[in-house]
């Protein structure tokens, strides 16, 4: 897993939060739903797009669907899908690096 090390601002941003019931990390998709996978997230390349995504997420926060809403730096992976830039966000995407058996990849089978 690539928990290494870049704080490049990233060419874009994605919106993340924690789902209210389980607390699990989730990402806002283009259709307004929340996914367990940042690669499914809506990728904002402009400040306006980012603000629009954030506003949608905050409405879900007000409606008690998610907590700790945040815009985070992201880049595109080799398949063009979003992936967070900072270590902290990569660990949120993958689960604890010391318990790969409990991570999201493991849960997805």
């Amino acid at each position: 897993m690539s928990v290494v090390n870049s704080l490049r601002p990233g060419p874009g941003q994605i919106v993340t939060a924690n789902e209210i019931m389980s607390g699990r990390a989730v990402w806002l998709t283009a259709d307004g739903s929340w996914s367990d996978d940042p690669r499914a997230a809506a990728f904002a390349e402009s400040a306006e797009d980012a603000a629009a995504l954030l506003a949608r997420a905050q409405a879900d926060n007000a409606a008690s669907r998610v907590e700790l809403v945040a815009l985070v730096a992201a880049e595109r992976d080799t398949d063009g899908r979003p992936w967070p830039v900072r270590n902290r966000e990569i660990i949120r995407a993958l689960g604890p690096t010391v318990r790969p058996d409990l991570g999201k990849e493991a849960a997805a089978g």
Partner: protein
């Protein structure tokens, strides 16, 4: 062991009902995130990187087997099969769903446990010497005092909204196993030949971004005056502690700003004012509480046991485990048994539900129903007969709990770090694991002897790095995890804050840096000299030279 009375029971049940209602109001949208955050934190519930975390109070680190089994049951039913014992003698669960939280609290209440005051700006769980009631060097069992403070501080109306959190530790032994000089208040019980029994009172110790070894503000406080004196300290702090800056809000900053002498003068003035108004309730209450901490029904035994000695001769693994993990007990024929939660390459402080059950079984069968959690993230069976140790060892081996490394290089304290924690800047656990992989069980580790490595993933210092003989602090440097090294810290009666060696190291480099520090120690030590003693004798110079080259 202390049992709840009907008042405690009512308070806890009411709190759970309130929390259940709050959870459903949050889920229905009646409560906002901010409103609910205050409520959940008052019940020990945090939201971490991957899930909710529940911190359960283990008052003064003392558990009975029924409670330990319940902790295991919760780990299995509501979490992912394990729990994490912390540097505050508590346990944390990492994966509990919010909707399950009230049921978990109900389960805890069945065994007189709760999560009240494990978070928030108030007096937190009171900690104590994990060898309490068993240690050779204690003058008395410190737990009744810790329990008295727990009862006094629980839902205390005046002290429920302090400037910041507040931690109290109690010991009754000259060898400090409770890190009392790193607490907001540290108490050491002593018998003075002239003044009688009393506490040395230490205030304003702490770690975090501004570490202090706490100064003593009273060398002898009669035990009957304990609560009014604590009240005076807390009142002064509540009034004058800073509320404008969370980083300057702990009592250590106030004590430092006023100076320990002036702080003591103001405490004494308030204490003198309130003492005449206080009745002898604490003294009577202490007697009632003491009755709960009955001395186990110890057998009269000889100091040695033939079957124990025979096992030591026959089985080198048993002998190593005995030499490392046992501490002397106040009664002949008994031992204090440490159970390090530090298997080679493992996660410090983690225990599976099965391991918790094993410890519960052993405590029941061989340990007078008594289990302790240490601030070094290990477990203790405080009262085990020497003759039972071979059987206990066998069971611990089967459970993966027989690592013979207490106090050695691989007995590392580490905070959850960036693998779990929202506050962390870098990971701590993988560093502990790599060090453990390199050193655990090696002849080199045995040759080094006593050496405490402590690792924090951010400056809040939950991993107590300031107090490590070798301390490691994780930082984020432009997106890369980097680790600062400190040397010479100590958490016991020789309390000291470690000094930073110089520039930090990356995640690989820090492992080699620790090895370099250990090599330097081995090259310089006199016969029988510990790492800390060598460091204090020769200073940081030779270590810096070995790490960074001569300048």
């Amino acid at each position: 062991m202390y049992r709840y009375d009907e008042y405690d029971e009512v308070i806890v049940r009411k709190r759970i009902a309130e929390f259940r209602a709050a959870v459903s109001r949050r889920l229905s949208g009646e409560l906002s995130e901010e409103e609910f955050k205050l409520i959940r934190q008052m019940n020990g519930v945090y939201l971490q990187l991957h899930a909710y975390m529940l911190r359960v109070a283990i008052p003064y680190g003392s558990l009975n087997p029924r409670q330990m089994r319940k902790l295991a049951d919760i780990a299995r039913r509501f979490d992912r099969g394990y729990g994490h014992f912390t540097t505050r003698q508590n346990i944390q669960y990492n994966w509990i769903a919010l909707a399950d939280m009230p049921d978990v609290l109900e389960a805890l209440a069945e065994v007189d446990m709760h999560a009240i005051q494990t978070s928030g700006n108030l007096i937190r769980n009171v900690t104590a010497d994990p060898y309490a009631g068993a240690a050779v060097d204690e003058i008395d069992d410190p737990r009744p005092y810790a329990e008295l403070i727990r009862q006094w501080s629980t839902l205390h109306p005046e002290f429920s909204f302090l400037p910041r959190k507040f931690k109290i530790a109690v010991t009754a032994a000259p060898h400090d196993r409770a890190a009392v000089r790193f607490h907001d208040i540290g108490l050491i019980l002593r018998d003075d030949p002239d003044l009688g029994r009393g506490f040395e009172v230490i205030v304003g110790g702490g770690q975090g971004r501004t570490p202090f070894v706490g100064p003593t503000i009273r060398t002898h406080l009669p035990e009957a005056h304990l609560l009014p004196y604590l009240e005076a300290i807390l009142r002064l702090y509540n009034e004058h502690g800073r509320r404008d800056n969370a980083y300057k809000a702990r009592i250590k900053i106030l004590v430092h700003a006023l100076g320990a002498e002036e702080f003591a003068r103001q405490v004494e003035a308030e204490f003198a004012r309130i003492l005449p108004q206080s009745d002898d309730l604490p003294v009577r209450e202490l007697a009632r509480i003491r009755a709960h901490f009955v001395t186990p029904d110890f057998e009269a035994l000889p100091a040695t046991d033939p079957s124990f000695e025979e096992a030591r001769r026959r089985d080198p693994a048993f002998a190593r485990w005995v030499d490392r993990n046992l501490a002397p007990h106040k009664r002949p024929g008994y031992a204090i048994l440490n159970i390090p939660l530090k298997p080679k390459g493992g996660i410090p402080g983690d225990a599976t539900a099965e391991q918790m059950e094993t410890v519960a079984d052993l405590a029941e069968r061989y340990g007078h129903d008594d289990i302790r959690v240490t601030h070094e993230q290990n477990l203790v069976l405080p009262h085990v007969r020497l003759r039972d140790l071979p059987a206990v060892h066998e069971a611990l081996v089967a459970a993966g709990l027989a690592t013979a490394n207490l106090g050695l290089v691989s007995d590392i304290i580490a905070c959850p770090g960036l693998d779990y924690c929202v506050l962390a800047n870098a990971r701590s656990i993988p560093i502990a694991q790599k060090l453990s992989e390199r050193f655990a069980g090696t002849a080199r580790e045995a040759a080094v002897g006593e050496l405490h490595i402590k690792i924090s993933g951010c400056i809040n210092a939950c991993g107590h790095h300031h107090a490590g003989h070798i301390g490691i602090l994780g930082v984020d440097k432009k997106g890369t995890e980097m680790y600062q090294l400190t040397l010479g810290g100590s958490a016991d009666e020789s309390a000291a804050i470690g000094e930073i060696t110089g520039r930090g190291f990356d995640a690989e480099g820090i492992i080699d840096a620790v090895e370099t520090v250990i090599d330097t120690y081995l090259a310089h030590r006199d016969a029988g000299e510990t790492f800390l003693a060598t460091y204090r004798r020769i200073g940081a110079g030779p270590f810096k030279e070995a790490l960074y080259g001569a300048h």
